[in-house]
Symmetry: C2
Subunit: 257 residues, 2 copies
């Protein structure tokens, strides 16, 4: 039987505020079995870009990454946010290793082709080296992954953290029984966006289609759930969408085949 592995993706807001980061890392530390943390950092990037006089341009909720912004996300995601998480996990007894996709060639991508929109130095993932990650994880190392990849041609590429979590989960599904947890500010996928008690506890793909049709699920939650079902199809055991302080696998919206 395959061993359990939990991959937790945490968004920018949670890792960038002292109190919520502490709560998150304590909850992460309590997860049993093998684990991986994938983080964002968009708010810090926006804040530091503004302080440096660089404008953050977003299209469809996605950051446009020109060369100045690439330097900023490399600093902020790969340095500031990543190393602050690593150093705190080390203090909690977790043997964390901060990684971008360039480190040990862990995640290779290509620059997104320009169609309607030029997102700049943004990478679409080609391959995650699951074998390498699995061997590190089995040694007790906990990868902490920044949302940066590379093209093996010398270019760092800004890559969506949800995508990194999903692709990493798929790559590790061959070696482990993977639970992928997307954590965010809300309790789960809500039936009523204004009511935190309206969490949908369980969803399969038919439910998802129905919820899109009747308008219950819309906006940014749709690509998140599409990523989730794609992961399930690729062998990931379970995807959970939940609050960052409730990543023990019991709360939130559970997505299975």
């Amino acid at each position: 039987m395959k061993e359990e592995l939990t991959i937790v993706k945490v968004g920018g807001k949670i890792v960038e505020e002292e109190d919520s980061l502490k709560q998150l890392l304590t909850a992460f530390t309590a997860i049993k079995g093998y684990k991986v943390l994938v983080h964002g950092g968009g708010r810090s990037a926006t804040r530091i870009a503004a302080a440096l006089g660089v404008e953050s341009k977003m299209i469809n909720g996605r950051r446009v990454t020109d060369s100045d912004m690439l330097n900023i996300v490399t600093m902020v995601y790969g340095g500031l946010v990543n190393k602050n998480i690593v150093v705190r996990l080390q203090a909690l007894g977790i043997n964390a290793l901060g990684l971008t996709g360039a480190d040990m060639d862990v995640i290779r991508s290509h620059k997104r082709p320009v169609k309607d929109v030029d997102y700049g130095f943004v990478g679409d993932v080609d391959a995650v080296n699951g074998t390498l990650l699995a061997s590190l994880i089995r040694k007790g190392i906990v990868p902490v992954m920044a949302p940066l990849t590379h093209d093996k041609q010398g270019h760092i590429l800004n890559t969506n953290a949800d995508t990194i979590a999903g692709e990493t989960a798929k790559a590790l599904a061959a070696d482990f029984n993977v639970t992928l947890i997307y954590s965010f500010e809300k309790e789960g996928v809500l039936k009523n966006a204004d009511d935190d008690n309206s969490v949908i506890p369980y969803m399969n793909e038919n439910d998802f289609k129905r919820y899109i049709e009747d308008g219950t699920i819309q906006g940014g939650m749709i690509p998140k759930l599409e990523n989730a079902f794609e992961a399930i199809h690729a062998g990931v055991n379970k995807v959970i969408i939940t609050k960052a302080t409730a990543i023990n696998g019991l709360s939130g919206t559970h997505i299975e085949k």
Copy 2:
């Protein structure tokens, strides 16, 4: 017989300028056998600090690291400089892995006690995990080390890159036949600071003492050479002080027991 390992330390100026970085990485790629790169980044830190309105305060040529500056060096050393080197080495076929001392608990340090000067969040190295580094290196991984360490209590500490290179060399001397190369702007240790042709080709400890006494060697070169001899005493085979474009082990000042 122990296998050969070369540790190259490169200063800020070299890794921060496009042309010199390219030359350096090409020369580094050509080094045979196992290798490690240790980098600085002070000039970029100063530049970005200034752009963010944070003053760089230096005492005796060393940076004072308050909490704002700690965030900046974490971003710049751990993110911007480190990942730019890693991604370029990957393009050159080198399986680079960027590390701070916090990653996998590779280098542990303590905050320097305040005596005459309060340097702030600056770490003095306690231990380098040579066994772990050796096992990575034997797998073909090339560590790229940023000048940051941690205290295992949740704090990142700014640490001199020469010290990191020296301590890493000493920790790896048990496993490898280590050559430690300190690269900088000049051809080597010069008899006459204005004459690049006055390189001292070979130096032992008696020579060093004599050169200090007669004033040939002074200023920042003294701690660099003290580090070098300390490494030699701790089992490092050879220390070379040379120009960043001449790291093939043939040029510069060679320091042996």
